[in-house]
Amino acid sequence: MNSRSIKMISILGAAALALAACAAPRPVAQPEQPAEAPKEQPAAPAGGEIKIAILAPLSGPVPTFGVSTRDGALLAIEEWNAKGGVNGMKIVPIVEDSQCTADPAVNAANKVIDQDGVKFIIGEVCSKASIPVSEIANAKKVIQISPTSTNPAVTVGSDGAVKPYIFRACFIDPFQGQVAAKFALETLGAKTAFIMLDQANDYVRGLAEFFEKSFTEGGGQIVGKETYTDKDTDFSAILSKVAEAKPDLVYLPDYYNIVNLVAKQAKEKGLTMPFMGGDGWDSSDLDLTAADGGYFTNHYSSEDTRPEVAAFIKAYGAKYNGAVPDALAVLAYDAANILIESIKAAGTADDTDKVREAMKAINFKGVSGQITFDDNNNPVKSAVVLQVKDGKVSYNTTVNP
């Protein structure tokens, strides 16, 4: 064997496999699958009807997200109809499969707006589908409220102008960072924090940036900040630095797969300070023994003791064979309620300008917290902090903004 052919073969092979490495799997949260919803076919009552479209990814990469979203929104609509509808009119839901993908979502939006004459849309779940839908809805003066799309671009256009007809029911990513900082400072009494982040992940970076900002503004000190990539398995070098810096808290706002690795290696290095993260920790695949003692911010907890939560869980379980609602179902339920509540406050379902002004002024007591809207049509609401302890995830506290 000639040494030069080793050279060539090696480089060729390494390049090919490096390309393959780019296709690493993304973690996908897998919420519990609620039961199928029965199809709703209510007859139009004398007072007329209001059509509300629900765009949910019932097929595609995240079908369980779609099912939860649909079920949550349908439950809210059913409750309103049982009370006699809104403004004397029956609410008719139109469910479309938008597949968490731009094209099908746009087709579905055009169909419900142009053919069905819908003026109100609940959806989409995924930001990448919600953003193109929001362009169409905003141009046609159709009110869209996305239950779960966290990307800031859903409600704010690329020119920086707010899309007046577009709202969302979930908090956006930076907010979780603020909530975590507030919780760390006030409840945990942390003075110093260490941040670990994946620089290539927008979600992680957004949370980390805003955590750092709020934490330092609140009088805390960031004693270290280290980056890694999503393909890393060995975090011992970073954790050695954490051990040197001795922070009161480590902020790790990544998905559960990274959290599992980091938390386990931290325990083996004898690190005892708590870890904290965001809703990326919320998965049935989170390693509860490794993450023991950690905290994460989330949209809602089924153990929350507020009466709205208990009532919702009871109603959801009764309608869907005892299923426990996940955060997606909760946010869809809240989104539908906010929308219908605004229609009621506006007193009309025909003039969407009145409805959007009513929505802007709303102060709604939802399952996921007290909701008002800020200038960018993002909700100002509380987040819950969950604690991983003794092999389960339990409700710790609610943090108000």
Partner: protein
Amino acid sequence: MQQASAEQPIAVLSADALSVAPRQSGAGLAWIGRGFLLALAALVVFILARNLLDNPRLFAQIVISGLQLGFVYALIALGYTMVYGIVRLINFAHGDVFMVGSFVSFFAVSRFSLHTWPAVAFPGISPDLSTLIGAVSVIVLSMIVCAALAVVIERVAYKPLRNAPRITALITAIGVSFFLEFFGALNFVFSPRFIPYQRPFDVYAYWIGAQGIGMVTPQTPAPDGSITFSSIFVIIVVASILMQILLQWLVKRTKIGKAMRASAVDKPTTRLMGVNVDRVISFTFAVGAAFAGLAGVLFAIAYPSIHTQLGILPGLKAFVAAVLGGIGSIPGALVGALIMGQAEALTAGYISTPMRDAVAFTILIIVLLVRPTGIFGEPEREKA
């Protein structure tokens, strides 16, 4: 050399043709390149020395994590180097055999509780002995499955191509690698999820320092100035060294080892001597894969989150280690792997974590430029 060229005339010819151009560009450029590398080396030594003096404890801690990685890479690199030594094939599916090893142990532990069988079969047995036997059974099972898988791969994908140009077999190896990754990602095989790995035994952390040595627990954290390491680190180092010794003995002292060395030098003549060369090749694949299986289990225990593309980066780095040590050389694989482990850990510790893969592959490029045969490589002779 004669025999290799006869087998793969196309690959060798094209490689020679490619490398003619830089040779003609003059000695002056070569000196600039050499000067640059020397400056780079001086810079690396300077940075390391400064950090060592700055905080020796942190430096030692980082070296320990580098050793842990290095010994895992050494186990994987053995498979690359042995297979290359005997069939002149860079078996890129090797990293994925490593991945299969960790999944086999995952299913053995989580689904079938194989690690607890001694306690179930002999209720009176001491828990420590039970854990030991159980963990060894899990590891042996993974090694056997990986060995069997490698033999199947060799028979199905590589053997029919033994007389084809070498590049054909190489591309097939990449194909096999993709097949294992994406077949494994199917929901009814391993699933594409990141799976939390359940360890067959608990891993403990210890500290060592001026005050002596002790175990780290939530109640008794490591004292200041001490260095921490975990039990899995010790296990990886011991297992890797044992396997190196075992392989040296196997290659140098046994009949099959002699047959392997003979097949590496000259297959037709070896065949004339009455050796079944195909069986020797299968055996080589099986041994390499068994080591990868062992590495897979230890890696999953050390970094307990597994997914189907787990093997890509460790596999590639082990391959770089094998090239660095001199591909085909067994001690070279160990030395190369230890250097790779340190390079990675020190980069992560003193530059930044995302840089470590860049540094790993920069080493590959530098080795290929400066000494393509690697540290232990012998340029003009066939190696075992």
